[in-house]
């Protein structure tokens, strides 16, 4: 289900104005696509973060601009806690778009009881799908994942109208035997790393003299 964001047009641009906007609880955004002009927008931070954390891709915007949009790119601060900027692309419901979806595991793998460890190697896969049918996320059942078995991207259930963009043989999750890391001998700790080019120089000097 598409979320609804209340947007307002952003006239004052630049770093200081944008910073003021963020301090006031708004997030700067830009809307583009379909050959129309770019529009600079401001959206309440709570609404944006709620939509992003739910994994919603297609949202409706109301207020200054009314349209159906795809969240194309999200910029985060260096600590990954706050959204700095959002790119929105105009889409129609039947338009095919490439989206990256989160893959979640569900169930208990029998391989765990066999002494294995479930490794979730790939957390996101890319699919091409009509904008109106993009799911919030994909889930993979590991109820039949035994020891030394794996599930690939091609085996993940995706909507019937969607096609997989990521390689089909990409391993999403596997159950393997745990690897025990053994500590090496202490004596080796004093060994210095090899210096690139040092040996060649020494040989040259020796040859000249």
């Amino acid at each position: 289900m598409a979320d609804v964001l209340n947007v307002s047009k952003r006239e004052a641009l630049g770093t200081s104005n944008t910073r003021r906007l963020r301090n006031a609880g708004q997030i700067p955004a830009v809307l583009y696509g379909h050959g129309q002009d770019n529009v600079n927008l401001a959206i309440p931070a709570i609404e944006v973060e709620s939509a992003i954390r739910q994994g919603t891709k297609v949202i409706d915007i109301t207020g200054a601009v009314k349209d159906s949009v795809l969240i194309n790119e999200v910029q985060w601060d260096p600590f990954g806690s706050e959204v700095l900027h959002v790119d929105l692309t105009r889409v129609s419901a039947d338009e095919a778009v490439d989206v990256t979806l989160v893959v979640e595991l569900r169930g208990d793998a029998p391989g765990l009881k066999q002494g294995g460890v479930v490794e979730h190697l790939v957390h996101e896969i890319e699919i091409q799908c009509p904008a109106g049918e993009i799911p919030d996320g994909l889930s993979v059942s590991v109820n039949e994942l035994n020891l030394n078995e794996s599930i690939t991207a091609g085996e993940v259930e995706i909507p019937a109208s969607a096609t997989l963009v990521s390689p089909a043989d990409q391993v999403i999750v596997q159950c393997t035997e745990p690897v025990e890391v053994t500590d090496e001998e202490e004596g080796a700790a004093s060994v210095e790393p090899e210096v690139i080019g040092r040996k060649a120089e020494d040989e040259e000097e020796g040859g000249e003299s």
Partner: protein, 138 residues
């Protein structure tokens, strides 16, 4: 054995300054939960190893731990009771440079509660302020 590079271009490096926040290595990539540095600093190879052991002893093969930092920088020191001069000292240990925001360790295959306890044990070993974080939404 503590981590160190296999090959280096130069044995010794200048001290440098840790400026700004991490713009790379600041996303949770491999696991579900992570320990993130909130301060900049040098983390010794022995400290990285101590953290890894503390975490491994808690998870005991149940989950998988990823170490996201590596000690690339050598730190030199002059021996005690040495007179001034005679050049820069010899490399003594290796450190990883972390900036605020750097993901230091990641954990997968465990519940959030287990990850929190595991990282709390690990955090005691770290010489910088750290926090628990999780994967960023796609």
């Amino acid at each position: 054995m503590a981590l160190m590079p296999k090959r280096v271009k130069h044995r010794k490096s200048q001290r440098g300054h840790i400026k700004g926040n991490a713009t790379r290595g600041n996303r949770v990539v491999f696991g579900d939960y992570a320990l993130q540095a909130m301060q900049g600093g040098w983390i010794k190879a022995q400290t990285i190893e101590a953290g890894r052991i503390a975490a491994q002893q808690y998870i005991r093969g149940e989950g998988k731990l990823y170490v996201r930092m590596f000690p690339h920088r050598s730190i030199t020191s002059t021996p005690l009771e040495t007179r001034m001069g005679k050049g820069k000292g010899e490399p003594e240990h290796w450190v990883a440079t972390v900036k605020p925001g750097t993901i230091m360790y990641e954990l997968s295959g465990v519940t959030e509660e287990q990850a929190r306890v595991c990282f709390a044990r690990l955090a005691h070993k770290m010489p910088v302020r750290v926090r628990f974080t999780r994967r960023r939404p796609a």
